[in-house]
């Protein structure tokens, strides 16, 4: 049996499961939204353990019989209710509830520990990667990275980049995305894109912000990585001012052309070292191809969207990925 940890609405999970179903590979899916409870959790002498979980009160999972795990998204949440058999008054009841949550947390940690020891693709503990740390490791490994600065002062910005260097600003950690419905019933969306910076508008001091030199690029490179294999796509964006900074601002009139590509061997080797260093079995990697043919590393995302690379390049990554999961069982 294969364990799959995900979220209810994740389409990539559905695409992988289609293959597993097609091949008759047994799996058990836990979504973050599911109500998981511990049925048995016994640790005995002679290296013997039995861990049985219940999903939504009806599906039974014997954790110690699992052969492998794919961590896609979410977490195993043990649901506990803020209810007590006898009446307890406030601050005490709050303290008790906090304590109960910590107790449940210990079980969750143990469950994650057991899952982590399985053959696996990615894990809960590696779900969130710190972009600054990754940039640091990438640079140490010898990948080219853009000059990056986090500061709160215009002065430091200017002494780093001067006033001629074009720069972009990016979120330090993850992008921001917020949707609301305004008074007229229309949807309004706020989100951070990678933007070209106009430093003249910078105040003298500001909230810690990340700046990166803007690199003239020929293409954005997106790599899907799986156990040392690289599936690479080039997104041609240079001719198109509307998308030359961030191709996610999709241009509906003239779509960016997307082509299959193959990175030079040394770049692949370094990226492989990076992925091993940060212990990700799979993920998507963003790079830039400069006009001079250099590859500049930008970032890694542990939960890459499959079909974004798979469909335009006809890689059928979903099948390759599902096949990898299948081989865990044999």
């Amino acid at each position: 049996m294969l364990l799959i940890l995900s979220q209810e609405n994740d389409v990539s999970t559905v695409h992988i499961l289609q293959w597993l179903i097609h091949w008759g590979v047994p799996f058990f899916r836990i979504n973050e939204e599911d109500n998981i409870s511990v049925d048995t959790l016994s640790i005995g002498p002679n290296n013997c353990r039995e861990i049985i979980l219940m999903k939504n009160g009806k599906h039974r999972l014997v954790l110690n019989e699992l052969k492998a795990c794919w961590y896609r998204r979410g977490a195993v949440h043990l649901r506990i209710k803020n209810q007590f058999p006898i009446e307890i008054e406030k601050p005490l009841s709050e303290r008790v509830f906090t304590h109960m949550k910590a107790e449940a947390r210990a079980c969750e940690d143990y469950i994650n520990f057991i899952i982590e020891s399985l053959p696996r693709i990615n894990t809960y503990n590696r779900r969130d990667v710190n972009k600054l740390i990754i940039l640091d490791i990438a640079s140490r490994i010898g990948l080219k990275i853009p000059k990056t600065l986090v500061t709160t002062k215009k002065e430091i910005y200017l002494s780093t980049f001067g006033n001629n260097q074009k720069t972009i600003t990016k979120s330090i950690h993850t992008g921001f995305d917020y949707m609301r419905v305004n008074d007229e019933g229309k949807e309004e969306r706020y989100s951070t894109y990678t933007e070209v910076l106009d430093f003249l508008n910078l105040p003298n001091s500001f909230f810690p912000s990340k700046f990166q030199e803007k690199i003239e690029k020929e293409a954005d490179i997106r790599v899907f990585y799986l156990f040392g294999d690289f599936y690479t796509m080039a997104i041609m964006s240079q001719d198109n001012p509307q998308t030359s900074t961030d191709f996610r601002k999709y241009d509906n009139i003239k779509p960016n052309r997307r082509f299959p590509a193959k990175l030079p061997f040394e770049v692949e080797q370094k990226l492989d070292s990076l992925m091993r260093a940060i212990e990700l079995e799979s993920g998507s990697i963003d790079l830039i191809l400069t006009k001079d043919g250099e590859f500049i590393f930008l970032e890694v995302n542990p939960v890459g969207q499959f079909n974004m690379v798979s469909v335009p390049c006809n890689y059928n990554l979903e099948k390759i990925f599902a096949h990898k999961l299948k081989t865990f069982l044999s």
């Binding site: 289609q18 293959w19 179903i21 097609h22 091949w23 020929e218 080039a234 041609m236 779509p255 052309r257 997307r258 082509f259 299959p260 590509a261 193959k262 990175l263 030079p264 191809l289 006009k291 001079d292 043919g293 469909v311 335009p312 390049c313 006809n314 890689y315 059928n316 979903e318 099948k319 599902a322």
Partner: protein, 376 residues
């Protein structure tokens, strides 16, 4: 030509998604990213085959031997390639790889046809659940009898509300039409309806466009689809060009691969027009029929194996028909209902071609052919 001059000493690469296909007398350039194709001369095909990447001025130098006319022609070729965005310029030509043509899909069956006439006795709920268990995502239901919107809701859509089938196409006679409103409501209510096509209508007309989800088209066509014998017509308007159809066409039959059908009598077949039946839905499950020897015998016949088609520039974007073929004795002969001749590059009326009369008789298509002539 300004752009050509500016780029003539840079390295170009043919877009990996622009794929030249050679025919007997001319070629096409398939743009599978933008879903369009363009006719090109065979000389340009050869040029691209030998020079997927290169430097324009060098290519011209090598081929023209300083001949002005040849130089001008090749310049025109490159101008066309630049204007059409079929090539791009780069300093990293080795990065770009040709597209792989692998094809696969995680389902035993991907598409199905269910034929229905006044005498058909089908339980849609049962059939759709069987199809779902085979992984099928697209179904075409062809009605050779009238059905009102309310009846269709009750018989087909209500019982299958929870089914995971993604797209259902309905083909039915214009006589069922009455007014748009009731059919519009049907597509609003059941969002899995890909389209409603009313045949034998006074004119061709789109009455309701596809919605934002690519579903819910309602349109009229003039052709009369009175029974399964009307199927199998090959025409450029039926060409499909996208990455999945194109790659599937490299290995499989473009019509019959992973298809299952139920004809008006309940017989389970690869396609309703075929002779071979693999059991009746009354006593055989679709899965059982699919497992019988012979069911999949057409699935791997691609156009490269079919006479005439194998030399046709449209072979990977064209549908293939194995139910009606020019020589019924030869499983690899050309689709009967195609009037295209890749040698002359002309489309002719297939039904009046004297060489096809024997096959038309063999399949009992004389009546239909005559009616169509009158209608024309």
């Amino acid at each position: 030509m300004k752009k050509l001059e500016a780029n003539s000493n840079e390295i170009y690469v043919l877009n990996p998604t622009a794929i030249p296909v050679k025919g007997l007398s001319r070629s096409i350039l398939c743009d599978i990213e933008r879903h369009v194709y363009t006719l090109i001369p065979n000389a340009l095909y050869e040029l691209l085959r030998e020079n997927r990447t290169g430097i324009i001025s060098e290519v011209i130098y090598r081929y023209s031997n300083k001949d002005e006319l040849i130089t001008k022609t090749i310049e025109e070729y490159f101008d066309f390639l630049i204007q059409g965005d079929y090539i791009f310029f780069t300093n990293s030509p080795d990065l770009f790889q040709p597209l792989e043509f692998e094809w696969d899909y995680p389902a035993k069956i991907t598409n199905a046809i269910i034929d229905v006439n006044d005498f058909t006795d089908v339980n849609f709920e049962e059939i759709l659940s069987q199809l779902e268990s085979l992984g099928c995502y697209a179904i075409q239901i062809r009605l050779y009898c009238q059905m009102a919107a309310s009846e269709m809701a009750k018989k087909i859509f209500e019982p299958t509300k929870k089914s995971k089938i993604q797209a259902i196409e309905i083909v039915l006679p214009f006589a069922s039409f009455c007014e748009l409103d009731s059919w519009s409501k049907l597509t609003d209510l059941y969002t899995r309806i890909k389209y409603l096509q009313f045949y034998n209508a006074p004119k061709y007309e789109i009455l309701q466009e596809f919605g934002y989800n690519g579903m819910g088209l309602i349109y009229l066509i003039k052709d009369n689809i009175e029974n399964e014998k009307c199927c199998g017509v090959v025409h450029s308007q039926y060409f499909t060009l996208n990455i999945s159809s194109y790659t599937e066409a490299q290995h499989h039959n473009t019509c019959l691969n992973r298809k299952i059908s139920i004809d008006t009598h309940g017989n389970i077949k690869n396609c309703p027009s075929m002779k071979e039946s693999y059991g009746n839905i009354r006593d055989t499950t679709l899965r059982e029929a699919l497992g019988k020897p012979g069911f999949k015998k057409y699935w791997n016949i691609n156009k490269d194996q079919i006479e005439v088609c194998k030399d046709c520039e449209f072979r990977y974007i064209c549908t293939d028909c194995r139910a009606y073929i020019e020589d019924p004795e030869n499983i690899h002969s050309k689709p009967l209902k195609c009037g295209y001749n890749p040698f002359t590059c002309e489309w002719e009326e297939w039904s009046t071609n004297p060489l096809k009369q024997k096959a038309i008789e063999h399949y009992g298509l004389e009546e239909l052919v005559k009616k169509e002539e009158k209608a024309m």
